[in-house]
Symmetry: C2
Subunit: 125 residues, 2 copies
DNA sequence: GTAAGCGCTTACCTTTAGGTAACTACTCAC
DNA sequence: GTGAGTAGTTACCTAAAGGTAAGCGCTTAC
């Protein structure tokens, strides 16, 4: 029979770790727009106005701020092409692509969640 | 040779869909505390003060608000046991568990992200 | 020359998130 | 009766998020 010591069980340690991991992840991915923006640019590189059009609801001010933030954190790159007038294209970095699984799971969950909400709406009426 | 019609490609439709899914998911999972709270309660049911202790940094007010919100959205249940004094336990519902993969991926990403940050700190000094 | 588009920036304002601290009603232990 | 703990609530406040609207410097199209 194993002696149970008055220490946190390995189990508990694991739980605490995953909690810490999620907290750390959310620290950089906070806010309404970071993940949608990364997803959009992982799907394809885009120009400022194209992004603003795709994420309907985001204002120019917020988009500019979020893009700067994501660039600082190495999620996207701002490329300037010397056409006249200059063409500016935002593209996702390799590091953005490490979020592929997260985004995949989130999208799958979002889809089934929408279904569930629809169901419960129907039941109400 | 295939004729290219002036319609969104199936590809584009898929992209737009996953964007919409992610937006919908984030709509219910917004804020700093929802996902950590769900994770904590999926790991084990807990009482108010236990949660507050585990998620150090959350205030009683915010915790109470978030718990109400999560209960409304069917992620958790508030159980009252008629001991004296009453014992109140929050537990995750089955619906919370549909987030298992999302939380798993987020935790994995958060872990490697922390590593990456540590690396770049070292390089700086 | 006038209008429109691009990629923003600025000033201004409202909304929300979220923290602090005090307090409640109840119970138990000392 | 004093202190501590449980499960919050309340009032007050700050900071951050985020929206609106206007404008800027540039260029092309009409």
């Amino acid at each position: 029979m194993k002696v149970i010591k008055n220490e946190p069980l390995p189990n508990k340690v694991e739980c605490a770790n995953s909690l810490k991991n999620v907290l750390d992840a959310l620290y950089v991915l906070n806010g309404k727009w970071k993940l949608p923006l990364i997803l959009s640019l992982v799907q394809s590189s885009k120009r400022f106005n194209e992004i603003q059009h795709e994420l309907s609801g985001i204002s120019a001010k917020v988009l500019a701020k979020e893009l700067k933030d994501l660039e600082l954190n190495d999620f996207i790159t701002r490329k300037v092409y010397p056409t006249t007038p200059v063409t500016i294209v935002y593209e996702a970095t390799g590091y953005s692509r490490t979020l592929k699984n997260v985004l995949g799971e989130l999208s799958a969950w979002g889809e089934q969640h929408r279904e569930k909400i629809k169901q419960s709406m129907r039941r109400q009426s």
